[in-house]
Amino acid sequence: MTLFRRLHRLLRRHRVDEEMRAEMRAHVELESQRLQREGIGASQARARAEREFGNLAQWQQRAREQSGAAWLEHWQRDFQQAARLLVKAPLLSLVIVLSLAVGIGANAVIFSWLRGVVFRPIPGVSEASKLVLIEPRNDAGAYPGASWAEYRDLRAALPAVQDLIAFRMLPLDYGPPGHEERAFAQLVSGNYFSGLGVPPEIGRLLRENEAAVPGGMPVVVISHEFWVNRFAASPDVIGKEIQLNARTLTVVGVAPEGFRGTVIGLTFDLWIPATMSSVLLAGPSEFDQREARNYSLLARPAPGAEAPRLQADVTGAMATLARRFPASNVGVTADVLPFWKSPRGAGRFLFSGLAVLQVFMTLVLVVVCANAANLLLARAQSRRREVGVRLALGARPRHILRLFLAEALFLGFLAAVLGSLLAEWGTEALRAVPLPGAFPFRFETELSVAGLVLSGTLGVVCALAFGLAPAIRSARTDSHLALRAAKDNGGRTRGRGALVALENGLALLVLVIAALFMRSFLESRTDDPGFRVSGVLLGQYDLSGRKYDRAAGLALLSDLLGRLNAVPGIESAAVASRVPLDFHAMPSAGFTIDGAARSDGGKDRALAYAVTPGYLELMGIPLVAGSDFVPLTDSRRGPQVIVNEEFVRRYLATGTPVGRRIVVGPASYEVAGVARNALYETFGERPKPVMYFSYRDWYSPMGQIHVRTRAAESLASSDLRRTVQGVNPEIILYDVRTMTEHVEKNLFFRRIPARLFGILGPLVLVLAATGVYAVVAYSVARRTTEIGIRMALGATRGRVVRQIVSESLAPVWLGIVPAWLIAVVIMIHANHGVLVLSILLGVPALLLAVVGLAAWLPARRAAGVDPVVALRAE
């Protein structure tokens, strides 16, 4: 009978009972009719029929047992007994349930998160996993983004796409002059909301024609959070005019709660027609500039359009564009990517990070299961007599199997419940993690139903995994042997040895991974980044919404830096377009040396950013050759560039670097100096080639003001603000923070896994030790007699202990040696081929020391027994 039919019958138990009774009554009735036909009186016939049938209730009970309907009752009884196990062996149960709950909970948290990233990548958008990004890719393999002109062309050229939407990020200033705050907007195409299928909370969302004419339609949609925080959720907000970058826009609607925009991990406040960019940015229109690749394209494929066809269409359309617009599009094709692989935002980082964590958590769970199996096996050994009695009293082996499985399932069930609670708590804790800095980042995770289902499934699967071996072992018990032998003197230990090997091997792997993470995290705090972190205050400005062209902007910069340098508390001041060790990747640029193209026609790429003269000195990055940039306002010298030592090592190794020319785009830059290497993107990175350009030659309307202060840097923030206000009250300084805080933000993503590993590492160590302890404790308990004989024959206590410990550690060695080799391979891959000996030797040493102690404790206790007592115990 299949399980399904059984369950079906279980659920209909009462109905089945009733039918059975009806069937039996009918039988009695028919028999009494038959007897009446033979000439027996009605009442007599009835009585005889009933007598011949026998006790109806009793037959019914027997039939029920035969039919499998008693299944539930048996399991119910077994579960009751399993619950008693909790009381009888509280410590064992506690260890198993707690460790399993932690394993299940951690898996559920990571799984829910990972699943959310892949299947629900855009909060507030249903079926977001069906949306795909169309990302132009240049010949250097980078995704530079799409231009608005490209968006228009692709929209017309892709019949397999039902909706193609475009969007870009735009931080801007919200509020009346003098009271501005930073707000984060997305400039979007007119079909943005309709294409995503997002309905308005109130009012209406954007219309197609509102993003049709450049400079057109000063309307804005605000986020639910923005509405609640700034407008107290008042419905009067519709039709209200708000100030953005000193322009007036009309609020037409509120996006639904939970919708945060279309960049993974970021939360946006406002959505504005993309055609407003020329007004808001007060610059030249970006609509006809095919080089201005600012936009991301998101497509909803038409029903039935398969990914390969879409990719073929996109490749074809990009090829056409490359023929029509060679200046901007030669060598540029496009990839169709799932949203979570977005090259912008935190998506890819999150996915790979979470995938590593998921693997790690799965390993931990296997260790936990192996440990539980070990403990239960050891316990099953000590329950041989109980099992023997049960068998002698008529229990069948399958009843024993059921009893042991019920115990395991009971523990698994408790662990799943507790694990779900832990997962819920862990997810809440993750969502509540505050992120420093002005970037609107948030963890988008919630414990999904799938996560809870996973918890339950893991509970059952783990229970079966760790419960099956002891259950089968016990079911095979020979009741005669079990009852006769006071102690089990034989007993196979191979299974347990294998479990100990597995557990310790995995524990070693997990500990090595954890140690690597911890080390890179700790190292990054003490690592010399190549520049002086302390004593620097940072503040960001953005002139792109104001009427400053390049010349006016440079004049303003010179003025500002001059005034800052004159402030007594400030040692020096400079501006850079980027701050190293930022959250985001640094921009890079393709270049050629002395105009000589590479043999394959491609270009080398190096990180590139703009700084003002004095920046390197302020940062404490020494020049090893040449000199600093000429002043910003000095127009006599041609364009200049300063490169770092790594750049020289790779590209300018022959001859003196100073004076050589580097060609980037249309301009040629003279190498003015060579700077010492520093860290640019992350801690632990290998040296990267960098080109520093002068703001004079590489102008940007945005910048990060760097101020080196004489006293504590936070004291200078009012000086900085006052000076900036003094230059021009319209300039808004935002995201003022110290360099130390900025660097901390970079460490943020390492801190979460580091914390996780910091908790889980010791846990895994404890688990490994518990497993070994249990095995040794039970095995020496069984070997009391043997130990007694040995000692009676003259073995010293120390020798007995040594032997037990070394025997117990044999399977441990068996597990950790292959695991150690795997760890070496992992380390070579993860650590740029550098082997960290302190970890490779220290972690196994620690593990061995701990499990050795776990083996030594019970061994010493066993050897402490008086031989006479030990022998009499038999």
Partner: protein, 111 residues
């Protein structure tokens, strides 16, 4: 044993039920009547004991059940052999034949 009727050997009830159902599906009462007829009233079963056996055989997949209408127009549960049941019947008939031959030899003291 009154009336010279034979007591049922342990385990033979299953065989009798399968045999009784060989020709057509029947309800429980019908099966008990058929067993009595087939054995020329020699074998009787305590009638209630039929039901645990029927449920056991169903559990083992040898019988299937279906609700139908009995000869006196009442709802009744009909039992029928499954393919596995037919195989089992053939198997049990063979082993029974062997056993009874063997016992026959023993009792006659031959060969």
């Amino acid at each position: 044993m009154p009336d010279g009727k034979a007591n049922l050997l342990q385990g033979t009830l299953d065989l009798l039920i399968l045999k009784a159902l060989q020709l057509e599906p029947m309800h429980g009462f019908g099966i008990s009547v058929r067993i009595r007829q087939m054995s020329a009233e020699m074998l009787t079963v305590e009638q209630g004991s039929l039901y645990p056996a029927l449920y056991r055989l169903e559990e083992q997949g040898w019988l299937k059940t279906e609700w139908g209408v009995s000869e006196n127009n009442r709802r009744a549960k009909f039992y029928a052999l499954t393919a596995a049941g037919r195989k089992q019947l053939a198997l049990e008939e063979r082993s029974w034949a062997k056993l009874s031959t063997a016992i026959g030899f023993v009792l006659r003291g031959a060969p």
